[in-house]
Every structure is written in C-alpha cells, then in structure tokens.
Symmetry: C2
Subunit: 687 residues, 2 copies
C-alpha cells in the first residue's frame, strides 16, 4: 500500500457535497466516494443513439461489463438504445463513450484498479490501465445518472479514482446455511457495483461441508445434507467473479470447526466418538487430530483439488476458536506433544499450521487464517485475519496491530461483522488502520484492507441479502475512499440511493421484506406490518439466538425478525428529525415527526383488523407499544401535561424485546423525554 495523498481536487468535492445552498450545487450519490471528483459545467444527455467504443472488444471483462452496462442503462431510463453492444474502436467514428485500457488486470493484490473518467457535453471517456479499472469506471458512471422530466443525463465532471486498500472483501459463510449459486452470483454483482474485489468463501464448518470433493466424496456426500457446490459450479462462480474483477479466496476451517469433516471421516478426530452434523450455533469441541498422518493425507488431496479450482494466491485455513479440549483429553495427543516438545495447544496448532503451510506452498498458495494462527513460530509469510474485539473481551482489532508489528500482512474484520445487526454507521467509522496505533509507514503498508463477514447462523437465501446490504456498501466505501470521507449523515443519504440501485442487480433485500410480511399475514394486507417493521430491528450482537440453541439449522427463518433490518428506515428518519428538533427546535422537523407519530398511533387499529395467527400474536405487543409511544410522544410535542409515571411506563415498554426484535425508537424517545422534562421542569430518571 502506498501512502495516501489527498489531491487538491478532493477539497472541491467536499465543498460540492457539503454546501447545500451553494450556487451550481451538485450532490452526487456516489458510493464509494472517489478519490477526486471535479464538477464541470454542462451535462451529457443520454439518448437512443448512445454508443460505446472499446480498445478491445475481445477482452472478456470489458465485453461482459459493457453489455451489462447497456442493459442497465436501457432498463433504468426506458430508452430504446439502438446499439445494444459496444463497438471495437475501429468500427465507429464518434462514440459517445470511449473506453481505453492497456491490459487485462491480474487478480492479485496491489493490481492497478484505477480509472480516469471524464464527462463532457457530447462525449464521455474512460481511461484505465486495466480492464478492472474499466469495470469500476462504468459503475461510477451508472451512479451518476440523473434525471428531470425531460430525460436522463450525466453531470459533466472529471473523476480520478483509485482504491485506498487493495483488499476489499466480503466473506459469506455457506456452511451454517447453504447459499445456492444464484445467491453468490447476485452478491458478486453487488460487490462489483461498490468496488469490492475479494469474495471469501467460507466453505466448511461444523454445520456442513459445501464443496464436492472428487478425491474424498465422503465429505460432500455425508456432511452436507445434499447441499453443496459441484466443482463445475465452483468453476462457474470463480469465472463469474473474475469477470467482475473479484478474487475468490476459499476457506476450509481447520483444525476446529471440523464437525462436518469428522462426520465424513471420524477417524481423523482427536477423540473417538460419534460425529454428526452440528445443528446448533456456537463453538464446539470436534477437532482434527494433528498427530494423525491421515489427517494430512486427506488435506493434501483436498487442498490439491481446491488449488486447481481456485486460482487465487491466498488460501484460508480458518484456524479459529480451537479451544483444544479434545486435545487435552487425548492421551495419544498428549504423548505426541511431549515427544515433539510442544508445550501448549498453541504450539501444537502451530505445528499443524506449518504442515498446512508447506502443503499449500507446494501448490503455490499462501496461507491465511484467523488471528489465532499468529503464534510465535508461525512463518511471516502467513496472512493474519484479525477478527476479535470487544465482544471477545479484547481491544478492537488488537491482533491487527500486533500482526503488522510482528511483520505479518493482515486484513481486518473486527468492526465489520455484519451479522451482529449493528447500524451501518458503526461499521463505517471503523478504519482498517486504527487511529490510536502508532505505526510506521512499512507497518501500515502491511494492512491490506478488510472484509465484511456474513456468518449465516440466522440467514437463508430469503433473508441473506438484507443482512449484507446495504450496510456492506458503507464498509466498501471505508475500504476504497480517502479516510477523511466519514460524514455519517451524508453516508446514510447516499446509502439509501445505493441500496435502491442494488435492486437492479437482483439483490433481494428490499423485495423480500414484503414476501415475509405477506406470509406472516397469510396474504392479507401488509400495510400495518410494513409500518411496524420499518421501526423494528432484529436483536443485536448474537442476543437473538441465546446460547446458540434457540435457532437450529432447520428452524423457521421467515419470521417478523427476518423481515426487519438493522438501521430500521423509519426509526432512522425519526431519530434524525428528533435530533434536529431538540437541537434547533426545528418546526419542519416537528411537523414531520407529528405526521409519522399520527400514522403510528393508528397502526395498531389496522393491525387488529387482520385475521390473527400465532405469528401475528407474537408481535402484537410491539404493535401496541408503538401506538402507546406515539400517543405519548404526540402529547409531549404538543406540550400537553403528562404524568411522569405514564412516561416512565411507556419508556419501560419500548425497551422490551419482543419476538426477537426491538423497537428502534428508544434513543429518540429518551431524548424527547429529557427535552420535555427540561422544558416542563420535571425530574425524570430513565434507565
């Protein structure tokens, strides 16, 4: 990683985004924000004659990207384009969009992904070193399309862009709940749209082994419930990713998280017992026996197959959460440790990891693993994946700092655990280079980037998109854009537009909400449920699945909680209005709040008219609570006299967790109560 230079142009961009009242004001919806962005006069008007020329139409990535670009442009604008495909540069004289690039990009770290995009009155040009830069330029261009009643156009501008970090990843766990190829593909499309370039495929865990193995078919036949990717499908996904400039890093998690492998091969276990696919969530004891030569024989075969399928240099061996209980309990393993002077389970795991490293090295691969692999004897060629933090009782991302100080390359996932169901803002403000850390330039350069992690205990293909998106777009911006870009409210503004546009790529996060609500209502009107779900959020930080046993692999995952998302949209809106109202006594904010409150206060009446079923009964208390909150808050805003006990009761109610969700109005309610108490000189204590 090179040190970051902020171009002077960036300042212009900041002016452009922040000054609402400025003349010639232009607010763009770009996400991630480019490195430099300069607005010019004029605009490029899109019409049916729109044409593209490219340096080399035979280039697969550019061919895929331009064809898809034209389809999206046409669908978005409704314009019947006459040219459905790009031309080779010699086939056309004056193309509207001229694309130049020098060479196909390599899918490896520190590849050139930059592009230069210039939009003028009558022409647009893209210049990039690699075809990957071209892909990103086209995505930026699509994000710039604007409209008025006369038509669609693009504001004239000059953009110079390149990423801050070279590793901008999304991990998807397909072990706990299998995600079919189409889920992966649509998410790869969405990743490319926000300029992410690493898909980390968590293929094996206690709950399933998801890859067809030709050398050891027991793995997928006995340990997947029939839900796995064929090798042909894996090739298809790798090609699909490559077409979008995305690397694919596979993970087989060993020696812990190995119940699935041991279901197929119990003889590799550290302890002799019956192994069956795990149906719960959590940390489990089944662990590979690192003293058994057969363990390595099978891994040699398996990694060999995978090395042929996955062209990427990096190979993720997991290595996390091995508590070593089964090692402690094994006389054979204890003896082995003594014989080999291995003084702790850490040392035994290092012994194991180093063997894997040699296997992988033989296949031309670099080993990477979760931070637990960073033990004193671990070779510096390994890449450390930092994931622990406050949840695990450690300082956030401490291992990242340790890693770079120890001379390892590293990437960060602590802070980007999207399955925690935290707001986008919390992820957005985590920088892969911790501010407090005093690092040298060389050490900083070892921080390659980060990965959002989608663990799948509680998601199925129906809900996974709404757990990944749109929040991952905010994380993508963190990985791509200059570090100074961190205005949360502007991020949320752009995120709303980005989220909407992800639908174009087949992402289901918006449309599947109604599918779940319709099911809950048995095809009755979903109006009341929609309004309710827009202020409810699923429980956070693993409190939804208490002890990991409430939800099992085959539990229902199309409940009300699954229709709700982090950053409940109406709650977010109400919260922003509350801030404006309390800080500035903003009359317009108050008016909008009252409108929302009025709607909510009547919502339970509508809810009650539905023919009830047990799932609706489960969420009825939420509906009641929203009505009560709304009535009281309306009274507060209108300056009516209220009883302290009444307020307190409503506040206690709103904090309650019901049906695995919470009303995301606690904070604004608290703020409004305090404001009301101050104005009315009431003493009220909220806890």
């Amino acid at each position: 990683m090179k040190t970051i230079k902020i171009f002077p142009l960036l300042i212009i961009f900041f002016l452009a985004t922040s000054c609402k009242s400025q003349k010639n004001h232009f607010r763009h919806n770009l996400m991630p924000v480019p490195r430099s962005f300069k607005i010019e006069k004029n605009k490029f008007v899109i019409d049916e004659n729109f044409s593209i020329s490219v340096t080399d139409k035979a280039n697969r990535r550019v061919n895929v990207a331009t064809t898809k670009f034209l389809r999206r442009l046409s669908d978005r604008t409704g314009i019947f384009l006459k040219n459905g495909f790009a031309y080779n540069k010699n086939e056309i004289n004056q193309p509207d969009l001229k694309i130049k690039f020098n060479r196909p990009g390599k899918l490896e770290i520190n590849e050139n992904e930059s592009y230069h995009l210039k939009i003028e009155k009558n022409k647009i040009s893209i210049d990039a070193e690699t075809d990957i830069g071209v892909i990103y330029a086209l995505e930026t261009l699509l994000q710039l399309i604007d409209y008025d009643e006369n038509g669609y156009f693009i504001q004239a501008a000059v953009i110079d862009d390149r990423p801050r970090f070279t590793w901008r990843g999304l991990m998807i766990d397909v072990a706990r709940h299998f995600q079919p190829v189409e889920v992966i593909k649509r998410n790869l499309d969405a990743m490319a749209a926000v300029k992410m370039n690493v898909f980390h495929w968590h293929l094996s865990d206690d709950q399933g082994f998801r890859m067809e193995s030709k050398t050891h078919p027991e793995l997928h036949l006995l340990a997947s419930d029939g839900r796995y990717y064929t090798q042909d499908q894996i090739k298809e996904v790798v090609q699909y990713a490559s077409d979008r400039g995305i690397r694919v890093v596979p993970e087989i998690d060993v020696p812990g998280h190995a119940t699935a492998i041991l279901t197929a091969f119990p003889e590799l276990a550290s302890r002799n017992r019956k192994y069956m696919l795990e149906r719960n969530a959590g940390i489990f004891n089944p662990t590979l026996d690192p003293t058994n030569e057969k363990t390595y024989r099978i891994l040699v075969d398996l990694f060999g197959e995978m090395a042929a399928l996955f062209p990427d240099k990096y190979f993720h061996i997991g290595g996390d959460e091995n508590e070593g209980k089964d090692w402690d309990a094994s006389i054979k393993i204890q003896l082995f440790m003594k014989q080999h002077a291995l003084h702790s389970n850490h040392e035994l795991q290092t012994y194991f990891n180093i063997k894997l490293q040699k296997i992988l090295s033989g296949y031309g691969k670099k080993l990477m693993g979760w931070e637990e692999i960073m033990t004193p004897k671990m070779p510096k060629t390994a890449l450390i994946h930092s994931w622990k933090g406050v949840n695990e009782g450690l300082p956030a991302g401490q291992s990242l700092i340790n890693a770079v100080k120890n001379g390892y390359q590293t990437i960060l996932s602590n802070g980007y655990y999207i399955d925690l169901m935290l707001p986008a803002s919390s992820h957005y403000l985590v920088d892969p280079i911790p501010e407090h850390a005093r690092l040298t330039a060389i050490q900083k350069a070892r921080i390659l980037g980060g990965e959002a992690t989608m663990w799948s205990e509680l998601v199925t293909p129906l809900s996974i998109d709404s757990r990944i998106w749109p929040r991952t777009a905010a994380i993508a911006e963190r990985f791509w854009s200059p570090k100074e870009v961190r205005n949360v409210r502007d991020m949320y503004r752009r995120l709303e537009e980005t989220s909407f546009r992800l639908e174009e790529l087949g992402i289901m996060h918006i449309r599947n909400k109604d599918v779940i609500l319709r099911k809950l209502a048995n095809n009755q009107s979903v109006d009341a449920l929609e309004d309710l779900s827009d202020v409810c959020e699923p429980l956070k930080i693993y409190t939804r699945n208490k002890g990991g046993t409430e939800y099992q692999s085959f539990s229902p995952f199309s409940l009300f909680a699954d229709a709700c998302t982090a950053d409940a949209p109406d709650a977010l809106r109400f919260s922003n209005l509350t801030n404006d109202y309390v800080a500035q006594a903003n009359a317009s904010a108050k008016k909008q709040m009252l409108k929302m409150l009025k709607k909510w206060s009547k919502n339970h009446e509508i809810f009650r008219q539905l023919k009830q079923n047990p799932m609706l009964k489960d969420i009825e208390p939420l509906s009641v609570c929203l009505s009560d909150f709304s009535s009281i808050t309306m009274k507060m805003l209108n300056g009516k006299k209220l009883d302290i006990s009444e307020i307190n009761q409503a506040y206690q109610h709103i904090k309650k967790q019901v049906a695995d969700v919470e009303l995301a109005l606690v904070k604004p309610f608290k703020k409004l109560i305090k404001n009301y108490a101050r104005k009315n000189k009431l003493k009220i204590k909220l806890n």
Copy 2:
C-alpha cells in the same frame, strides 16, 4: 390415457366447494382440484413434534421432497420443528405423517402418478405406487394447511388423486431472451407445486443458440452473445427436474428459426448471405439447407450430445413456420427437389424430418415437432404438437383432431399461449379434448395432454415469472383435474391463494412488480403506481410489439407494461362487483365499488406529486383516465345526472392504449353505462 371415471366422491367435493351457507362448510384452496376429495370431521393440529416416516429414506426424490416439505412447513407456520428431516420407517414408532410407496417412478408417459392421502385427527398417511405420487401428495398437503389464532391445522379428509392427462407441460423459450439456471429451477419448483410434469426447453431460435456444444462449439460461442447453458448446467437442471418428477424435453428448432445456427455455420444455409443473430421478433427466412449433407453431419453430432444429456424419450425438432422462401430462391435446392421427386416444400421438409427421425431413432429417441411436421408421409411414430388456431386463421386446435384421426399421438398448445397476455379464464376453459370433435376412445387416448408456452420476445428474468404465473396454475388444473371442474369464479378464488403460495418457492411474480415500479419512480413512493398498475394490463395478442420490431432483444423490459399483468387484480375485482351489482342490485357490491372508485379518483393527485421523468410522463394519460372514469362512475352509481357526451368521452378515453397497456375497466364500464342508461331511459350507443 384411460377413460375418465368420475367417482361419486367428486359430488361431495362439488357440494363442499359450492354451498357457501352449508353447515360444516369447508372451502379448500386446492389447485389442481383432486379427482376425489372427502371431508371428514376433526382436524390434524400441527405442532413442534411433527414427524415423518418414509418407506425408504435413501430414495432421492422422497428425501428431497420431505426435507423441502419440512422447511416450507416450518417457514409457513413459524413453528420450530424438532425434526428437520424424515425418518426411515424403522427408526420411529408413531410418526405424524407416514409415507409409503412401492418404487421409484420412471420419467416417461403414462407412469403412475397417483396418490392416496388420508388426514385424521392424530395422523396423516400418504400411499402411492411411486415416489412421484408422494411428491404430489406432499404438495396437496401443503395446500391444505389452514390456521386460526391458536395455530395451524389441516382439515381431516380423504383424497384419492391421479391426473387426467399424462403430459402436463410448460415450454420456456430461452432463445429470444436467455433465462439463467435459477429462473428455470424456480419454475420447476412451481411446476411441481401444481403437479406439472414436462419442462419443454426451447433452446434454439433465430435470436440465439443456448446450449454448449462440445462437438461444434461455434454454436454457443458465435451464436449466443455469451448467454448459454453449459452442459454441466443442463445436467444440473435435468437432475433438478427429475428430483421433482419432471421430464425435460429439449427442442432445437429446424429447419426454420435457424438464424442462430446459421450465424455459427453459414455454409448450412439455403441461401448464401451474411448471417447474424436476429434482434427482432417475427418469422424470418434463414433456413437450413436440407440438400446439404453437412447439415445432417452436424445435426447427428449435436443430437448425439443432446441425447446423452437429456434422458427423455422425446426430442422436439421444432419444424414450425418454415415459409420456404429461401428454398424457392435456391436453384440448387430446386434441382434437388426435381431429382428426388419432391413436389413441394412440404415434401422437402418431410424428407428432412424423416432423416432427423432416423438420426433420433438411432439415439433411442422419438421425434416430436410443431404441427407443421404432420405431412402425409410423416411416420406415425412422430408426436404432433398442435399450436395453431384463430390467430393463425385456423379453427382452434384443428391439427390436434387431424393428428389423432391420422393416428398420431399429440399434445395441445393452442389455447395455452400464455405470452398472449390473455386472462387465465380463457386458457382454463380450453380442453385438450375439443368438445365438438367426435373422436373414438382410441383417438382420444392419443391426446396425451398439453403445454403452456412461454415465448420470450418480451420477457427477461425480471418479468418472466409474472407472465407464467399464476395463469399457468389454471392450465395445470385443466391438465390434471376432471374435465367437469370448470367454475371460473372458483378457479380465480383458488388461483389467488395459489399465486400467493408460489412466492414460497422463490417465484418472483409478486415481488418484482414493486421493483419495476420503484425503478420507474426513481425510488419515490410507489403507492400511486401500484394502484394504477393493478387496473392496467399489457396489450394482448402480440399488439404490444407491432411488427416485431418495436422491441428488440436489448430493448428495455422494465417499463410500466412489464409491471402490469394479465388479469389485473383490482380490475378483476371491480368487474366481479359490477356483475353482482348490475345483476342483483347488490348493495354491498355497490359500497365496495364506491370505495375503490373513491381511491382511484384521488390517485392522479398522488401521481402528480411525484418528481416526473419521461417514463412517468408516458403513463400520465392512464392516470388521468382512471381518475376521470372513477369520477363519472361514482356519479352514475350515486344516480347523479350526467351528460351523454361526457359519458361517451370518458368511454372513448378508457379504450385508448397508452404506453403499451390498456385500462382493464372497459367491460365493467360499458356494463355500468348500459345499466345507467336503462335506469335513466337514456339512449347511448357505445362502440
């Protein structure tokens, strides 16, 4: 096909569905209606201990079906089932659902697909000859799930069921617009849910060749725009279909509809010119040269590859719409015809077909083709696919009658062209055995069934589901249920429920409507557009794509017309209410109508508040028209005085086609105007 016997039990079913006021009334939502259905007392209550035992868990179809059944049961009811998988019969003592079957079904015509389903207070049993019968029984069971506020249950009943026709197909054209594997898979799931058993895969046409060919890769590399199925994907689809009891019949359309093949192999053409993939819709001249030996050499290779991929006995060679113009224009071909005493293009095509038949026979396949292949010398082993009708200036399904009289087996598609965008009722009332035809039992038995046909000139993966479903479910009922089941209003009632439940299988017809509307509104509220689209229908019978050139392959297909569907739901509702009101002066109907009209009359106000763009401007006249119609109709219903010219003007407006849709309120409006004129003794002439 055996002659149909109507069991006495069927009468009980009819009583049960038609007598609303009857005591112990039970209205089921089954679609297709089973052959016999008997309601019993009691009900089976579903709880978390629900368990299944099966004769043989190793049976793949039953394993897939029961696992999916449990997932759907759990998601639908929200019950945390303790048993996520079925047990082998010896593993469990008292299962709630006991499944017995004798053998795996064969995927061929006249296989036993029957089942017996008995629901009692504390247990359910399924008995079937084959695993295919088990699949259908499970689907019936899912359709029977009912609920009240205390929970989910199934009414006790005894069902004996088997299909009326053995060929219950859906054809999907993937040539004109490619449909990725996931589109095919979800439609296979939906097919199984309504007991359809043939997927006819139209793989090649003028606009694209969609199958990877290993012997002649030019076909998919040069003639698909990169959009084709790999052979691995085809195997995957065939297996997926087989798991659901569905046969897959491939079609390569020859000698006409051959532009794609000739794009790859121009030397096979009847005429020497440049060939490029067709971008328009229609009938085109490019035709294979039946006098060229290389034509057969390539088809031998291609059919050989396909014979290995598609285990089904039948192979569809198309054969339609060859107008022979390029044959007429070729001196070489004319000479050949003379030399071989072929006196017409028909005879030349028969010569060609017979050669194909021999090729296919060598691969163990039976030839089938569109009705044009039925020429005097065509061997009787061919299966005739009847498709022409009134649109083509012929009596409906005449070729079907001719075929069976000539001794051919046949299936019917005329009447089931779902791309015509006609109402479900029109397809529903077409019987595969024409009523007027005087056929012997042997002749009738040659009618194997029928196929709904989804031609894809105007559909993309975004809209295709809403063109196939729910109307195809009504066609599926026609193919499965006793012919006496033809109450249109009850069909529509059950179709609404069936349509909703198809969402569970991933069908996108409901959810993608809002996706298109959100796009049209650029993420503004879609309320006004939703209400408008619920009374608008896309233009019918190919009038949308005038001359086949208005829309090309890469035109935009997410316009307002693409959000609208046949059987516009609110228009259908209003139409039913109008019938009730006019026929019975029904006060409740009038009240409901006024409510709808009031909403519509205000809709344009909401529409106008949207920030406009060209796509919205295109549909504005519709919005205005709906408001005008509503105001006038409210006045008529309320007995206000109206001017004849005012009524006439509104009527002329409402008939106008705008933005490729029509307001589906013309008929009820006409009825209401006549009713008003009669009451007020006005003379009004509508045309």
